[in-house]
Symmetry: D2
Subunit: 356 residues, 4 copies
């Protein structure tokens, strides 16, 4: 069972709500002897942190991580690592509006239906704040994978505006506040997002995560397939509505000739002429780049009044005020990278468990 746990040999259990005293996670199964300190984790959290540009929520959280267990004399001991982040910006707000009214597109209604009531402060457990703990766990996963595996992510579409893949430059991603690999598109997006923000509206986005240097053979068919686990991992991120691998939905339109990635020997190594498979065949990595894409819906927290119902069962309207992201997809990039890292670390260990 896995209500709040993911992974098998590399296993992460998260806890905490948006406006409780803290959030955190237990990372279990880490190999011993890996050098680890807060300094290895904090930079990744800083990348996800809100309030770094005008395009993300102005909530101010330092997101300072503390390691409370599992590390001794600077190295992992092989026992559970507790990572903890205090919630510092729990400003005394007025929640009366969302307490008894359901925000359309949010999980307010479903939490109430399932559990009978909910912690409505800042979204409680349904808040995307939980994803900070994934990013922290992902930092450990990266250390397990080592430097040969490089995991990078980018925003490739904002609203209707896609990047031009001819302009793709990984170095560009950190040059703009939008994780955009296409300098030209980045500018276009900034204008688009300024308008969205001005309108009190929001927009969806598509994120692409690429893992290079992944050894061939990872993934455990049939129900521990690498792509199956990646799909679950990405779909579990707040606001995600679709996941695809390699050619993804586009594969539906292709012919067998176009889609199959032909193979050649090169310097004694197996290579592929294309990568429609996204680095995975039969649920097992091929040694090519593992490519995952996921779509994030626009946040439903907008300034236009929306029709809704109250907990008491009356028709009403709601406007979601407060600090929000016009495009939650922006901050989803480091989260997607972290989930990729966690899934791969788990499969590295699962593979060597079975294979020796």
């Amino acid at each position: 069972m896995s209500h709040n746990t993911f992974g098998h040999l590399f296993r992460v259990t998260t806890w905490g709500e948006s406006h409780g005293p803290a959030i955190g996670c237990v990372v279990d199964g880490t190999p011993p002897g890996i050098p680890l300190s807060e300094a290895d984790i904090q930079p990744w959290l800083d990348l996800r942190r809100p309030g770094q540009s005008r395009f993300t929520t102005q909530r101010k959280e330092s997101d300072t991580v503390k390691i409370l267990s599992g590390v001794f004399e600077g190295k992992t001991t092989g026992t559970p690592i507790q990572l903890q982040i205090e919630n510092t910006d729990q400003r005394g707000r007025d929640y009366d509006d969302i307490k008894d009214k359901y925000r359309p597109g949010h999980a307010d209604y479903t939490y109430d239906v399932k559990y009978g009531f909910r912690d409505y402060r800042g979204g409680g457990r349904q808040s995307a704040r939980e994803t900070a703990t994934r990013v922290a766990a992902g930092a450990i996963a990266r250390k397990i994978l080592g430097d040969d595996v490089v995991i990078r992510g980018a925003l490739i579409q904002v609203g209707p505006h896609e990047v031009d893949r001819n302009n793709w430059d990984w170095d560009e991603v950190s040059n703009n506040p939008l994780w955009c690999p296409d300098a030209h598109a980045a500018k276009q997006w900034e204008e688009f997002l300024d308008q969205v923000r001005k309108d009190g509206s929001s927009t969806g986005a598509i994120i692409e995560i690429v893992a290079s240097g992944v050894t061939a053979g990872l993934g455990a068919p049939i129900y521990g397939k690498l792509d199956g686990d990646l799909a679950a991992a990405m779909m579990s991120i707040n606001a995600v509505k679709g996941v695809e691998i390699g050619a993804g939905f586009q594969a539906a339109t292709l012919s067998g000739e176009e889609n199959s990635d032909e193979m050649r020997m090169e310097n004694g190594n197996v290579t592929f002429i294309s990568n429609n498979a996204g680095g995975i065949l039969g649920g097992i990595s091929t040694g090519q780049d593992v490519i995952v894409r996921f779509a994030v819906k626009p946040t439903s927290s907008i300034l236009t009044p929306r029709k809704t119902v109250t907990k008491a069962g009356e028709n009403d309207e709601i406007v979601t005020k407060g600090r929000h992201d016009p495009c939650v997809g922006i901050r989803a990039v480091p989260i997607g990278e972290a989930m990729m890292a966690c899934v791969l670390a788990d499969h590295v260990m699962r593979h060597r468990g079975q294979m020796g």
Copy 2:
């Protein structure tokens, strides 16, 4: 761990290869007292069975299921149900061509890299034949869900050709051999597929599965979300490269106003004006139709020679002869329905386990 098992309280473990003596699965956790016989399962298998039209492989398998345990005096006992299907069409073929050469787009190479060797007869464990056991398990899941939950699937795109949603008619699905809900599109597809078949080529497709009557409240955040489990379930089906819920990838292009599903009271019940969420918010069902879509790539078994490499590490070419589906997506519809049923049955039990 779940190499070959899916689900938690409703739990299915599958086994078997395409050309071994049999395939099967163990279905564990079924509530006791449910009337069950082979006659409840066989019709669903018949829907998936190959060779029923010129658009699917001509392999002849009767796919006759036997219940070997867990049923007594016509009712489930609550103990494991073993479902078994003999492989009857293991014709003595010549596998020399695929034994030592990797079919591009197939899992031949990755199985060899992972396990060191593979059962190459008919694809062995990587064969889509395994999905017959899921369909059998799905029949039991449907009985757990009861008649109030209706699960239906349709092919909505074949190659570049989509259905026209204005023509959608569920009754049409069983009127044509392509699971097409649009009578007009069905005819178009038949012509298209005849050409594909004539060319010795293949094409991809998109399938939509809809579950109606699903009670609100199913799904266990954060890592047992209903959409997370559906994504893993669908992605684990052979040849699937993408999964989406509700508006899916389209949600990326929408504004917050367009995307959020407004709510109204109607006859004392909560209703939604639209269903971009696909019936799931925060990983929990809303009570609306649960809508999943997945993309299937074209099979890589085509008559055009493809560049490949041999097990011995030499460049070569391969042509996949034999009996194949021009569009494997056609037979994926009942499999997608079965996976939907299994995921929902598991979540019904998980929900009442926690909630009482």
Copy 3:
């Protein structure tokens, strides 16, 4: 996988070392709406706390628990509950002696062999301090079970000295510092333990845990049997070397006539004339008292020098100084009760998950 997690629907993940900043656990799967505050948990921790009599270690830990998540407006929300206990008595000791030498009977050597090194401060992760988090989790489990289920434990043997079951009085257990249900034996034990302590030695013990009011039907054959789960739960407690149910090892000496518990109807209810089964048949509860017994070895921390080896592979001797329990079994009673509560709570939820 479950390195540091136990339970399925009621699921506890523990973390922390004896001398790190804190220890804690994540309790996942708790039904929503249960009133819960630190005041519900602290009394159970106080019962386990060291330093309450001259018979337990003089380490001073307040063991103050904090709830960091999963509770809102005084009630459980159904999301993960993080329980945390700061380590306050990490006095700056000299660990040079145990750093490089293995204490016989402790896990020093095996942790080093497995992980390559270990957190030697106070035993690190192998310390019985971890069991405080189980006691905290057990307090929540008791709330799930409700008042109809009463879980009580007692020490029934200290060294060679057994209680006389004719003197058994549950009320006596809290009247002496040794959890002894036999006032006469309690006095005898005090004398015995004073001598053990004076000698710088230690002694083993046997604990009995009884759960009354357990509904018939709990337990999931074959590998989720109630007794199987209880055996694993109790054996996982530090220093435990044996677990038995009902008549236990004594059953080996009985005849079929003596052992089988005959049945009678009484006021319309099924009753049993005896309870050699310890309330469990075929892995399922019978409705009688569930009775588990476990044996705890004497701690290996004694003042007599013992032959040992060093990390560097040299023969040596070791004396374990410092604050220790002459009989660790005394403090094992509330831990055994907590594990009983956790296993039962899990099975209550598993049962209703399958049965509805």
Copy 4:
């Protein structure tokens, strides 16, 4: 969740009832490339088979195992192995007596309470017949462990009669029909059991399983401890009421000086002067023999009438006629060995998964 599954990386799911068409199990996670055929498994099943002496039930089952998947060209492929055994001796008996009456000491009542009804033919799923599938799985586990690990079991007590450990001779175990390592005790037991049989009675027993050659470092604290998993594994065997490791319950009576196993270097290797720990410290193997003991109750199927109740809630009496073992402990030896093998194989893989 694990109703009918045990193990994690080496994972066994069993199914089937005593009088259904067959029983079997799926063994998942086996490393690829291990030579395996029915001939590797059948000898272990033959050791457990009933009817081999006058001291076991006269039911005649050939217990012929078939491998239906997971093996290709004589070697494991790394995919699930389905092992199947047909039930051949389902003689048309009259079950009227046990259909509606509960046999005291059997699980008849608890199955009815839990599931509402039960397959009463030969005990259905509660029958010890299920253990044949564990023995089959254990044969595969032994192949994973390799020849360096030797697992042996013996009966060490029958009723009140213990072996004399001074007479212990492993070679003697196969020289008598009672798995007795003490030739003298074997004779005594034969006489005792003849009388038990003549009386239509039954007796309990204690079994000891020893694994030699187990590498130090296996076991995953805290909730995947080697002894915790062994306790669950042995307790899950039918009729087992107690499990102990090393000195076991005897440890309660020992002093710290007596109990702790002192250490010495010998030829550069760590050795222990005694083995009260039973080869496990802190849940991790020490490299010494792993020693587990378990107690089996006398079967409740006896010829003396016993008081019972009927399904309809009336007082009644029952005599269990038919073919039964006077001492079910005899046939438990190969089952205990198999469970030891399965637990160790799982931990070998778990260990290398985490440690590399």
